[in-house]
Subunit: 213 residues, 2 copies
Amino acid sequence: MTKIPQRTVERFFRYCQFLHNRLEAGSDHVFSHELASAVGVSPEQVRRDLMNFDLKGTPQRGYPIKEFLAELYSHLESSALTKMVLVGVGNLGKAILSYFLKRRPNLSIVAAFDQDPEKINRVYSGCQVHHIGQLEKTVSREKAAVGIITVPASSAQEAADILVRAGVRGLINFAPVQIKVPAGIFLEQIDITLSIEKVSYFARKSRLKEKVK
Amino acid sequence: MTKIPQRTVERFFRYCQFLHNRLEAGSDHVFSHELASAVGVSPEQVRRDLMNFDLKGTPQRGYPIKEFLAELYSHLESSALTKMVLVGVGNLGKAILSYFLKRRPNLSIVAAFDQDPEKINRVYSGCQVHHIGQLEKTVSREKAAVGIITVPASSAQEAADILVRAGVRGLINFAPVQIKVPAGIFLEQIDITLSIEKVSYFARKSRLKEKVK
């Protein structure tokens, strides 16, 4: 099995995302220069990528979107189902559950976990909420590969430790705290407030500059 | 006014985040090596940063957290209030509104916007929801500097265009689509689904590798 570099994987997923949006908007073909411009990569890069694909386009209509997606997914080997679990069913957790409902058939959130008795056994976007005490057992039994952490900062490391012990290979942490995982576990930290603070900083700078002018 | 490089700004905000977490957990002092390890930077880097700060620590207790935060914020010049608006009051929008309520006194979401009649005039986490048609006028009047976009992909570019026309200097886009802004506008795109897909890809790879062993 060839290993695709991380940057290529990310670019391919961006292609997929743009193509999904185009399909939803009613298009069935796309030109490579549209893709390049929308995704923010050079037309040369898109052409190089296309050379490795078994995909035929025409100068009049461009490339057929459905075939293009199938080709991308076969390279990403993501036709296989990946099972995920989500820990922390607050607003952010619910937003993620509702997004994945039916939109990505190959990615399935098989269970959600919380400690709030009012949420346990309820179903959000087709996904049942279990007590956090069931986390380790459920992940092992379902062989879930990915854990999504949407708990407060104070519980994030504990959730990560349980998920790793239960056998997940990848984690996405949304809690505003840096968590630690053993080598070999793929970790992505998405810090929403940090990003908002950073943008605010640069927006403030740019406003001040304008006032001075 | 000195301009701090983007990486330093990000690192300083990570320091702030860790220090806030420590304060909330009841500590009032911190050692530089704890900070380095928690934030994932080298102890040398932390010591270099500390040399520029007007802050005294002791070998027994480390640095006083409140003074450390004040020093960081003075370097980030973020004692001034930054006004933000949020467009799209779905689950993700609500999650962001509730997070910012009172936690960051210098960052205030002054208004939220949606097109759903059921949400208009309601108040979420202290923030009133207005009809999207009021967006441009409100941003201009309030002199909001930052726009947070939490609408679906199909409306994200339109929301961005209105926000830029109304005078924001920074945008954070959560919609799963690449948006375009004029030069001089600071844009951060946070694509939650893309990140989850990427982690799933690498988790799958790592599981397969294990099976082969």
